[in-house]
Amino acid sequence: MRCKTHLIQNTFRNSIQIVNDNTTQSDKPILKVRDLRTSFKTGRGTVTAVDGVSFDLYPGETLGVVGESGCGKTVTNKSIIRLLPNRVTIYDPGSVVDYRGTNLLGLTESQMRAIRGNEIGMIFQEPMTALNPVFTIGWQIEEALQYHTDLNASQRRARAIEMLRLVEMPNPEKRIDEYPHQLSGGMRQRVVIAIALCCEPDILIADEPTTALDVTIQSQILRLMDGLKEKTGTAIILITHDLGVVAQACDRVIVMYAGQIVEMAPVRQLFHNPKHPYTKALLDSMPKPGRSGHQKRLPAIEGTVPSLFDLPDGCRFADRCQHRRDKCEASLPELVTIGEGTQESKARCFYPIGDAQAVGEAS
C-alpha cells in the first residue's frame, strides 16, 4: 500500500500542470461571478451575507474558498446553484453568475433544475445527513440520472455501480442496495460525491466536504476528488475553513472575511506571500509542526468577526488588524491586483503586506 504515495504525488503534479496550462492559454472561464450580492430578510431586518463577490472559475481547476464560519463562503456557492430559500433571499439585480454565457440568477426554477446536478454538482459538509435515510444509495444515485438522462432502469443501475466504483467504494454491486446508515461517514461522503458526479457536471461545488471526517478519511476523500477531477475535467470549488486542506488540494484560493473577498491568489503565493493582513494572521495562528513554536503563545488574531448586522464603514478587518491606520477605519478598500506576472493576486487592503509601504505612501 505504501506505493500509493508515489502515485498521488504524481497526480497532484499533473493537476497543477493543467491549471498552469489553462491560465497561460487564457482559456475562457467556465463560470464568471460578478458582483454577487446576496441578502436575507430576517426578523431583525435585511442582512447582506455576500457583498460584491466576483471571481472566475476555469475548467479543470480547484478553486479554494476559505474563511471563518459566517464569512459568506457557503452563501456564495449556494447562490451560484440557487439553493437558498427563495422566500428570504434577495439577489442584487446587478449580480451576475455567468455559466457558459447564461446568467443563472435570471433562470426560472425549472430551468435551474436542469442545471443542478447536471451541469453543476454539489457536495455537502455532513455526509451523515445529506443522504435520504429511507432510500438505498443506489436509488439516490439513479434518481439524479433519471432527471437528467434518458437511461432506462437497468442502464441507470449499471451507471450507478460504475459511479460507486469510480469513487472507490469497495464491493459496489452489493453496496448499491444498502441504506446510508449502513455506511461509515467516509463511505457516505463517497456516495454523495458519486451523486454529484454521476451526470458529469462541469462544476463541482464541495462545501466543506471533509470537515466532519477524521483526518485519515479526509485525506482519502481529498485524494479521491483530485483523482476524479483528473478523469472528468470537472472544475471544483472547494469551500473549507481548514488552511491545511487548501494547501493540499487547491490551485487558486479565495479568502473571505465578513461577506467579502479579502484576498484571491494562487495557492503557493497565498501561503508564501500573503498580501492581506487577515490571511497572514490566519496563517500565523495555526500551530506549526516542529519544535520551534512548541508550547509558545500563538500569534492569535484578537477580537471577533464583526456582526453582519453592524458592519463598520471602513475595512471590515480594521479593528482586528495589527497594521491598521486611520484610513482603514474611514473607507472600505477595493479588491485590487497586487503583484506581478502569473503569480498575480488580488487583495482588499490599503496597505498590503510586502509592499504595504509603497501603496501606503502612494495614497
Binding site: 425549472s110 451526470c199 472528468t232 475535467g233 470537472t234
Partner: protein, 620 residues
C-alpha cells in the same frame, strides 16, 4: 482538452443525453384528486308507501327489558304494550277512564263480598307465532297461562319490580312466594289457594280482602299474559324477545336507537270503538266526546285493529334530533319539553305559534296524573319525626319554597300546583287545587315565625338539610333555586345530584333526609297515591317517606277495600289533609304534556297512564 474527451467517452458508454427541462406536475393538480374523494354517492331514502308506517319517538335511550315482570320504567311499559296484553284494558276514548275486557270475554264477575273474581277468557286468543312453540305456531291462551304469568311476579329470580301490586292481595299468594323462593327450585305447578282454575277458559281469583284496586292491577302491563314456552326457550333473553298476544310483533331492536314492530297477522278480530252517539238526554256519553267527534276520532270506527302495519319507535336521549326530525316530518308526533314550550306556543293562550300551524302541526294537551314532590324521610333525626316542633320546621320549609317560581322558571308556568298528594281528576283532589289549610309558599314571614316557634329562629340549631335529586341539569337547577329560598329563612341545604340508582339506594337505606321525586298514576284511583304514605309500605317498598301514622294507616286499610262512594271520598280528603298537615312532602305539581302532531296522524288521543293505544293510530 483532455477532460472533454473523457466526458465524451463516458457519455458514449452510457448513452448519456441531456434532457431538456421537463414539464412538472404542479402541486395544485393534486388538489383536484383529493376533491374527488368527496363526491361519494348520495342517495335519498324512499319509503315504501304501500303500507301504513308510524314513526314514533321515545324520549330516552330506550327500554331495558320487555319482560313484563322485569320491566319497571314507563318506557319498558310502552315498548312492551305493543306485544303483550292484559286481562283488562281501558277504553281508548272514554274519560274518565273506564275498564273494558281485553283478553276476557266480559268483565269479571265479582262476588257479593267482593273477594272472589270470576273470569272467562276469550276463545280466539292465540300467542304470536314464534319458534318457541311446537311448529312455530302460536297456541291458544289458557287459564294456566294467566296463573303462570301472575306467579312469575312472585319468583325473585326474575327480579320482579312490581311485587307490591300483589303483596297481601291474593289468598295464599304471599305464602306461595315465600315457600317457593326458599325451595331449591321455584315450582310454578304448585297451586295457589286464591287462584282457582275452573277450566281452560274459566278461572277464579280469591282475594284476602275486597281490595278494590285489584281490578286496576289487571290492566297493568306487569300482569301481561305470556306463555311458559317462551320463558323456557329464551330465559333471560325474553327481555329482548317478547312473545305475547298483542297487535304487534317486535321485528328488530337496535339498542338505544330504534325498535321496529310489525302487525301481528294472527291478531284476533278487534275493532276500533264505534261512535256511541249523543245520549238520549242530549248529553255527551263521556267527557270530551264532542271534541273527539270533531277531531275525527270516530272516522275509523269499526275498522280492524291494528290500523298500522309497521311502527318505528325511535329513541331520543337528547331533544334536538327529535325536534328536528319532527319538524322534518320524519316523526308523526313529538312531546314538547317544558323548556321548549314558549318556542312553540303563544303562552297566553297555550296555542301554537302561527309558524307551526302553517306547517299543519296540531297540539294535543294532556294533563297528567302526576305528583311531583320533594319528600322528607320521616325517620331522619334532623327533619323527620311527628312532634309539633319537627312538623313546624317542615311546614316552614314548605312555606319558604316558591313552587310558582319553579313552575315559571322550569315549566313555563304550565304545571298545575295543588295541595296534597292527590292529582287533579281523582277523587279527593282539593277543590280549586288548594286545600283550606295549606303550607304552600312563599310566605317567608310565616316560615320564619314557625321556625322560631319550633325553637330554631333563623334556622339556628338545625343541621344541614341534605337533598338528593337526579343528575338531570334541570332538577339540579331547581334544587338550587329552592336552596336559595331556604337560605333566606336560615336553613342550609346541601344538594346531591345522583343517578336514579343511587337515589334508590339512598331511599332503600332510608338515608336521604330530603329528596326530589315524582309519582305517576298506575291506575286512576287516588288510592294509588295515598298508598305512598301507608306505614307498612315503608322503604324498601313504595313509602319513601317512611311516613307511619296509625290513624292514617287505619284509614288506608279502610279505603282500600271500599268501592267508590262519597264516604270513601271523604276519607280520601281526610287522609290528604293529614299529609298536608304533617308535611312529609312538599308539593305538589302535576305536569301537562303537550303533544304536537302532524295532521297526517289520525285517531291520536295520547295517554300516559296506559300505553297500549298505538294500535288505534294510523296515518293518512
Amino acid at each position: 482538452m483532455t477532460e472533454r474527451n473523457a466526458i465524451t467517452s463516458l457519455r458514449s458508454k452510457f448513452h448519456l443525453s441531456r434532457r431538456t427541462s421537463r414539464t412538472v406536475w404542479r402541486l395544485p393538480t393534486w388538489s383536484f384528486i383529493f376533491c374527488l374523494l368527496f363526491c361519494g354517492p348520495m342517495q335519498s331514502i324512499c319509503l315504501a308507501q304501500s303500507e301504513v308506517v308510524l314513526h314514533l319517538p321515545m324520549q330516552t335511550a330506550g327500554p331495558n327489558s320487555l319482560d313484563p315482570v322485569r320491566g319497571s320504567s314507563t318506557y319498558d311499559n310502552i315498548a312492551a304494550s305493543y306485544v303483550y296484553e292484559t286481562l283488562l284494558e281501558y277504553e281508548y276514548l272514554t274519560r274518565p277512564y273506564k275498564l273494558k275486557p281485553c283478553l276476557l270475554e266480559e268483565m269479571p264477575e265479582v262476588s257479593e263480598d267482593g273477594k272472589t273474581f270470576t273470569f272467562k277468557l276469550r276463545d280466539d286468543i292465540f300467542f304470536q307465532d314464534d319458534p318457541c312453540f311446537e311448529g312455530g305456531k302460536g297456541r291458544k291462551v289458557v287459564t294456566d297461562d294467566v296463573f303462570y304469568s301472575l306467579k312469575r311476579m312472585a319468583d325473585t329470580s326474575n327480579q320482579p319490580k312490581s311485587w307490591w301490586l300483589m303483596a297481601d292481595t291474593i289468598e295464599g299468594f304471599d305464602e306461595y312466594k315465600e315457600e317457593q323462593n326458599e325451595a331449591e327450585e321455584f315450582d310454578y305447578s304448585v297451586p295457589v289457594s286464591g287462584m282457582v282454575k275452573i277450566n281452560d277458559r274459566e278461572f277464579q281469583i280469591v282475594l284476602n280482602k275486597p281490595f278494590y284496586r285489584f281490578i286496576y292491577t289487571l290492566a297493568m302491563f306487569q300482569t301481561s299474559v305470556l306463555p311458559h314456552e317462551a320463558v323456557d326457550q329464551y330465559g333471560l333473553k325474553l327481555s329482548r324477545h317478547p312473545v305475547g298476544t298483542g297487535p304487534f310483533l317486535l321485528d328488530h331492536w337496535e339498542t338505544g336507537v330504534q325498535m321496529v314492530y310489525r302487525r301481528n297477522p294472527n291478531y284476533r278480530d278487534v275493532r276500533y270503538p264505534s261512535d256511541p252517539g249523543m245520549l238520549e238526554d242530549g248529553t255527551a256519553p263521556y267527557l270530551g266526546y264532542e271534541e273527539d267527534k270533531a277531531l275525527g276520532l270516530y272516522e275509523s270506527a269499526g275498522q280492524r285493529l291494528p290500523l298500522a302495519d309497521k311502527v318505528v319507535l325511535t329513541m331520543f336521549p337528547i331533544p334536538q334530533p327529535m325536534w328536528l326530525k319532527f319538524l322534518n316530518q320524519e316523526l308523526d308526533y313529538s312531546r314538547v319539553p317544558a323548556e321548549n314550550f314558549s318556542q312553540a306556543f303563544i303562552k297566553r293562550k297555550r296555542t301554537l305559534r302561527p309558524s307551526f300551524v302553517e306547517k299543519g302541526i296540531r297540539v294535543v294537551p294532556l294533563p297528567l296524573l302526576d305528583l311531583i314532590y320533594n319528600g322528607f324521610n320521616m325517620e331522619d333525626p334532623g327533619f323527620g319525626g311527628y312532634s309539633d316542633e319537627k312538623k313546624w320546621v317542615r311546614q316552614a320549609i314548605s312555606l319558604a319554597i316558591d313552587l310558582e317560581e319553579v313552575n315559571q322558571a322550569f315549566y313555563e308556568g304550565i304545571n298545575l300546583l295543588y295541595d296534597g298528594p292527590i292529582p287533579n281528576g281523582l277523587e279527593g283532589h282539593p277543590e280549586g287545587h288548594s286545600a283550606e289549610v295549606n303550607y304552600r309558599g312563599p310566605n317567608l314571614q310565616k316560615a320564619k315565625a314557625l321556625l322560631a316557634k319550633a325553637g330554631h329562629p333563623n334556622g339556628e340549631g338545625l343541621p344541614k338539610l341534605v337533598f338528593y335529586t337526579s343528575r338531570q341539569p334541570q332538577s339540579v337547577a331547581m334544587a338550587y333555586m329552592s336552596a336559595r329560598k331556604l337560605k333566606k329563612i336560615g336553613i342550609k341545604m346541601e344538594i346531591n345530584s345522583v343517578d336514579f340508582s343511587e337515589l334508590s339506594e339512598k331511599l332503600r337505606e332510608k338515608g336521604a333526609p330530603f329528596f326530589g321525586l315524582a309519582w305517576g298514576a298506575d291506575y286512576p284511583d287516588a288510592e294509588n297515591f295515598l298508598q305512598l304514605f301507608y306505614g307498612p309500605f315503608q322503604s324498601p317498598m313504595s313509602n319513601n317517606f317512611n311516613y307511619n301514622r296509625p290513624q292514617y294507616n287505619q284509614l288506608y286499610d279502610e279505603v282500600r277495600v271500599m268501592p267508590p262512594s262519597p264516604e270513601r271520598t271523604a276519607k280520601y280528603e281526610k287522609m290528604r289533609d293529614m299529609i298536608i298537615e304533617d308535611v312529609p312532602m312538599i308539593g305538589s305539581m302535576a305536569r301537562t304534556r303537550y303533544y304536537l302532531i302532524h295532521s297526517r296522524l289520525k285517531n291520536f288521543k295520547p295517554e300516559e297512564t296506559f300505553s297500549n293505544w298505538v294500535k288505534y293510530l294510523t296515518i293518512e
